[in-house]
């Protein structure tokens, strides 16, 4: 954007995950002379693309290249290390920017609504994923999986965790899975993982390619009740899932050190243990009254996400009779996108689709004169915010540091500590003063 031109619209996007970045990308394509700032709590952008996508799924992270372009060519500004709701309020932000879009996702783990859900060694999948991916918030998390793990839920998040708990250490070339985390998992000596879902196998939430990815681990024996693998074969998606599961059940070689049991059609009833979990009771989902006991030294609950306890931005607080959630519209100049808007479903392509929809919605409201303009945007931010904030150049320093520090076949060694991330982000004066 020509710096001498007044911006046609100033926009603050809160959250730099997939939906926030795609939204910025889409708005830049639609509105000339728009001035967009993406505000992120961490000094690192990209949200779940960096901290949610499994470390051995690097190909899934390629959309980052699109966002690098938009930050590098200056069409979108990155302001890191600033938390809306703590460093400045949403009200203040709305006074400074014509449009504010909330793209903060959903990071709380849904808890099991059964007795014992809060026993020690019952862990949320989101928390475990952040630990596996070296998120700064997980720095103090020390899971004890023990020998027997029960995973409740069998969506893709659950399967990612399953895979990362069983996959052998030497197959992490070209990933960014940290050595010490791998070692920690190995040392725990997991011998059995039972993964339990409430639906029938044919309706399970995992994608079949996630199951196929589990094949070929010679040290793992998979067990699925053959009765569970009978199902409708006229529905392609279901048939492919069942096929993938069937193909896991090859005859044992005798080299197995870990057993993985897939159970379908069971709902948790009670988590038992004196201080930490010892076993979990399940009841059949079909109402037959059958019960099943699964011994477990730890439980990972992968049953979805919800608003985090203590989240400062809650969608319900902004909804009123003028809101139109289906269009991402919350109130005057306030919009929402992605999981924050629509609930914690969908991956990167869904985030892109949602972002395009909300961008169209914003564009239309601007054209219709329903958005008041003329606010200064980034230029209105107080000095204190600019002093605390980090920028895209700061992220590129972190990025360079992490890729440079990679050793032993890894593509990256993430910096885990927040203070260090901030320090590295600040460690050089960029060639131009604006990001």
């Amino acid at each position: 954007m020509n710096e001498d031109t007044e911006p046609s619209l100033t926009v603050a996007v809160v959250g730099s995950g997939a939906s926030g970045c795609y939204l910025a990308q889409s708005l830049v394509q639609k509105i000339r002379d728009i001035d967009i700032t993406i505000i992120e709590r961490l000094p690192t952008p990209y949200g779940l693309i960096r901290y949610g996508v499994a470390p051995d799924h690097q190909g899934t992270k390629t959309p980052v290249r699109q966002f690098e372009k938009m930050f590098q060519n200056g069409s979108v500004r990155f302001l890191g290390n600033i938390e809306v709701g703590r460093d400045l309020s949403l009200d203040e932000l709305r006074e400074m920017f014509d449009v504010v879009v909330l793209a903060t996702g959903m990071t709380g783990d849904r808890r099991l609504a059964v007795p014992g859900h809060d026993l020690r060694r019952v862990y949320g999948a989101g928390q475990v994923t952040r630990w596996l991916n070296e998120h700064p918030d997980a720095v103090d998390f020390e899971p004890h999986f023990g020998e027997q793990v029960a995973i409740v839920g069998n969506g893709n998040v659950a399967i990612d965790i399953l895979r990362l708990l069983i996959k052998k250490s030497d197959s992490y070339d070209r990933t960014d899975f940290a050595h010490d985390i791998r070692k920690t998992i190995e040392q725990q000596g997991i011998t059995q993982i039972t993964i339990v879902g409430r639906s029938r196998a044919a309706d399970a939430k995992f994608h079949s390619h996630m199951i196929r990815e589990l094949a070929g681990f010679d040290h793992v024996r998979y067990e699925t009740d053959p009765a569970a693998l009978v199902g409708d074969t006229d529905i392609a998606a279901a048939s492919v899932k069942l096929e993938a599961l069937r193909e896991l059940g090859v005859p044992p070689l005798g080299t197995e050190s870990v057993t993985v049991r897939f159970l379908f059609g069971w709902v948790p009833e009670c988590v038992h243990g004196v201080d930490s979990v010892e076993f979990v009771d399940f009841v059949a989902a079909d109402g037959s009254g059958c019960r099943l006991r699964v011994d477990a030294d730890s439980v990972v609950t992968a049953i979805g996400f919800e608003e985090r306890d203590g989240a400062t931005l809650r969608r319900s607080e902004f909804e009123d009779t003028t809101s139109d959630l289906a269009q991402g519209f919350l109130g005057a100049g306030l919009f929402c996108v992605g999981w924050f808007r629509n609930g914690p479903q969908g991956g990167i392509p869904e985030a892109r689709k949602d972002a395009k929809m909300v961008a169209t919605s914003i564009e239309k409201m601007v054209i219709d004169g329903m958005v008041s303009t003329g606010r200064a945007g980034f230029d209105a931010l107080p000095i204190s915010i600019l002093a605390k904030g980090t920028n895209y150049h700061g992220w590129s320093l972190i990025d360079r540091h992490e890729t440079g520090a990679a050793d032993g076949g890894l593509v990256r060694r993430k910096i885990r500590d927040l203070e260090t991330l901030i320090q590295v982000a600040r460690s050089e004066v960029p060639p131009e003063s604006r990001s």
């Binding site: 899934t60 390629t62 699109q66 079949s208």
Partner: protein
């Protein structure tokens, strides 16, 4: 020479590649860049040359945005004689249906009588190679072939 670049994207990578290809071809051919969800068979016939940039999705399917167009050309009785196209596919060797989406789209276009020219490129997300760089190199080669075609006609 009317050139169009048609992208079928899920995550935006194919769209990004389409824009990179457009940058390479712009001065000489001024191509239109179109989302496949906005493309119909009638519109396709308006172009001398179409460059498709197609990602794979799900079980080796074409992206959702391509479904309407794909259904139109699969319906039977569609004649694409005279349509020349080249294909740049995006996939991930991580999946055993690697690049199957772009392969299926090319197969179906050919089945309707369209002529495929140039290299059928297949980018691999797991290779670590930036997709838009591969797309740029491919675009340079395709541009040379389009020019040669024009000169051949003249």
């Amino acid at each position: 020479m009317n050139v169009t670049i048609i992208y079928a994207s899920e995550s935006g990578n194919a769209e990004m590649c389409a824009n990179s290809i457009s940058d390479v071809l712009r001065d000489e051919f001024h191509p239109q860049v179109v989302d496949i969800s906005d493309m119909t068979v009638d519109q396709l016939r308006l172009y001398d040359t179409s460059l498709f940039v197609c990602a794979s999705y799900g079980e080796g399917d074409v992206p959702n945005s391509a479904l309407a167009f794909f259904d139109e050309i699969s319906g039977g009785g569609v004649d694409l004689a005279g349509v020349r196209f080249a294909m740049f596919g995006l996939g991930d060797t991580f999946y055993d249906t690697y690049n199957r989406g772009a392969d299926r789209l090319a197969e179906q276009l050919r089945a309707c009588g369209a002529l495929q020219f140039g290299e059928h490129a297949r980018h691999d997300a797991s290779s670590g190679e930036p997709p838009e760089e591969m797309a740029e190199e491919w675009a340079v080669a395709v541009a040379a072939q389009i020019s040669a075609e024009i000169q051949g006609v003249a």
